[in-house]
């Protein structure tokens, strides 16, 4: 294990932010800490980096107890949401910083920095200042800077949070590819479930300072441990006292076993998919169907239909809800 977090508790004042958190991160993996804001995921990342100290519990990095080590002795690369660029230094000097601190020979620094700038596609920006870069470029510079010191683990705190949607998507794909090239154990924090599912190979779902579930992206999506995880990982709707993904709902005009009668209240076309809003037993629900299905069933407001989860659909019974 590259990182082993054991029974970590942390409070800010009287507010607990991490409660008995234990997480293992496998060497060479790309792990997402996913959860709503205020769930404690950034704090956990900062505890791993040594930027926060846990009240109780331990953190081991590459088998070494790092709980009492200062950030500069942990050999972790940290990338901040707002880049934390050294604004008085050129891109080159930013990336060279960690190597200069380690007093590496000048020509080695030069070679390594240019290599990294090529890796993050900033080789032509070496002499610019961070203020002359776009947000996406700054974040790639910050990533190169963190990688320069060959960290044991790379930690990214909402790395794409401050970027616009387009750049965000590009950088996501790019981070995945970069990780496949560099293989450094990487943990990133995000509140965007799509980002976690698309990029990570392991997802740790955190809420209210506690780990809700750990698993592969398809695992947490298909087999959510509880209603919270199911709701957080994707769209859900409620039919017959169970939580179901709206794309797992079958609509038919004839009654079928296990089905409920429902009336269509609204049909919204969103490109190729159609969102069908329903009233089942007086409760609102919705289903996601393809355009073909919608046309075939002639779905229109006021129509009476029958709905049931598709066979093999993952659903969670809601007890007492």
């Amino acid at each position: 294990m590259a990182i082993e977090v054991r029974d970590v508790n942390k409070s800010f004042g009287t507010t607990p932010v991490l409660r008995d958190v234990s997480v293992d991160v496998a060497s060479g993996s790309l792990t997402a800490l996913l959860g709503p804001s205020g769930g404690g995921k950034s704090t956990l990342l900062r505890v791993i980096a040594g930027l926060e100290h846990p009240d109780t519990g331990t953190v081991r990095i590459s088998g070494v107890d790092a709980t009492r080590l200062s950030p500069q002795r942990r050999n972790v690369g940290f990338v901040f949401q707002h880049y934390a660029a050294f604004k008085h230094m050129t891109v080159f000097r930013n990336v060279a910083f960690g190597l200069e601190i380690r007093k590496r020979p000048k020509d080695e620094i030069r070679r390594r920095v240019m290599e990294l700038l090529e890796l993050v596609h900033l080789e032509r920006m070496a002499d610019r200042y961070p203020s002359q870069l776009s947000g996406g470029q700054r974040q790639r510079m910050a990533l190169a800077r963190a990688l320069a010191v060959e960290p044991e683990v790379l930690l990214l705190d909402e790395p794409f949070g401050a970027l616009d949607a387009q750049v965000r998507k590009e950088l996501r794909t790019w981070l995945r590819r970069l990780h496949d090239e560099v293989h450094v154990t990487t943990v990133f924090v995000t509140h965007d479930q799509e980002e976690a599912i698309e990029v990570a190979d392991t997802v740790v779902v955190l809420a209210d300072g506690a780990v809700e579930q750990v698993g592969s992206p398809s695992d947490v999506y298909d087999n959510p441990a509880n209603p919270f995880v199911m709701r957080f990982l994707g769209p859900v709707t409620e039919i017959g006292g169970s939580l179901v993904r709206p794309h797992d709902i079958e609509i038919s005009t004839e009654p079928r076993p296990g089905g409920d009668e429902a009336s269509v209240t609204r049909v919204v076309r969103l490109g190729f998919e159609v969102r069908v809003e329903l009233l089942v037993d007086g409760r609102e629900a919705w289903a996601q169907v393809t355009r073909g299905t919608a046309e075939q069933l002639a779905l229109a407001p006021g129509a009476t239909v029958h709905v049931r989860p598709t066979p093999g659909a993952r659903s969670l019974a809601l007890t007492g809800a």
């Binding site: 930027l51 940290f78 790019w174």
Partner: protein, 281 residues
């Protein structure tokens, strides 16, 4: 990969291009008022002093400036101001640091006290200093009628400059930068020297230049404690005053012009430093 190409990054703003743009009616009115006001209050009086200083030729100007008492007053003033500015540079930064980064009881009061030298009539400052460091000093430290006394008075009145220029920059300083440096292996000292200090330098120098220009023009606070001994403790502003009392307005104007030039050079240097700083900000 199709990330941003270099052409998409904004070019640095070109101040020259903006300046050539035509001004609108409202702007013209504002600009006109500002220039008129500045001329009446600052530029024309200053120009007249410069003109007056050369009334009796450049030879007389040079003689007036280099009379032993004027020369002594000028060198003392500029020398003491330089020393005072440097002390401010170090201690003013330290005070700003403590006020921003440390927590201690009474911090708000200390923060308010910093401005007191600004608020106090400078003659009162002289009186206060004389009470504590005069012949009847309760501390047994008598700096009255000495050059050290002049320095002390200048330190008192220039204290706020560096503190008040560095403080806001320090408050705004991105703490993530320091944490990033630490995670890259920098010790607290290395982080201070390589990350914090370079970001403070423009403000530190700007405050120092202001303190220096304020010090060379100081009159009130030095009058009491220095005793105004010609050749020893008389500062330039007091020397100018005594020249005028002796009906030597041209001489007074000459020394004033020297002070004016020194102050101007200091402010120009400050401006250049700030441009240098903002280009990299």
């Amino acid at each position: 990969m199709s990330v941003e190409t270099p052409s998409r990054t904004a070019p640095p703003p070109r101040a020259g291009a903006r300046r050539r743009r035509r001004v609108s009616g409202g702007t013209a009115l504002g600009l006109g008022s500002a220039v008129l006001y500045l001329s009446l209050i600052v530029l024309i009086p200053l120009a007249l002093v410069v003109v007056r200083s050369t009334d009796e030729g450049l030879g007389y100007f040079w003689k007036a400036v280099t009379t032993p008492d004027a020369w002594a007053a000028l060198t003392l003033t500029i020398g003491a101001s330089a020393v005072v500015a440097l002390v401010n540079l170090v201690l003013g930064t330290l005070i700003a640091w403590v006020l921003v980064r440390d927590r201690f009881p009474g911090k708000a009061i200390v923060d308010t006290l910093i401005d007191l030298p600004f608020a106090l009539p400078t003659i009162v400052a002289g009186l206060v200093l004389l009470a504590l460091y005069g012949p009847e000093s309760p501390l047994g430290v008598n700096l009255a009628y000495s050059r050290a006394g002049v320095g002390l008075a200048l330190l008192f009145v220039t204290l706020p400059f560096v503190v008040r220029t560095v403080q806001p920059v320090l408050i705004e300083l991105d703490k993530d930068m320091e944490q990033a440096a630490a995670s890259l292996g920098a010790s607290p000292f290395q982080t201070f020297r390589r990350i914090i200090l370079p970001n403070l330098v423009p403000a530190m120098l700007s405050g120092t230049a202001l303190a220096f220009t304020r010090a060379i023009s100081e009159f009130g606070s030095t009058v009491l404690i220095s005793g105004n001994l010609p050749f020893r403790t008389q500062v330039a502003a007091v020397n100018i005053f005594s020249q005028i009392e002796g009906d030597n307005t041209t001489g007074a104007a000459a020394i004033s012009t020297v002070l004016l030039v020194v102050a101007l050079v200091a402010l120009l240097a400050l401006d250049l430093l700030q441009r240098w700083g903002s280009r990299r900000g």
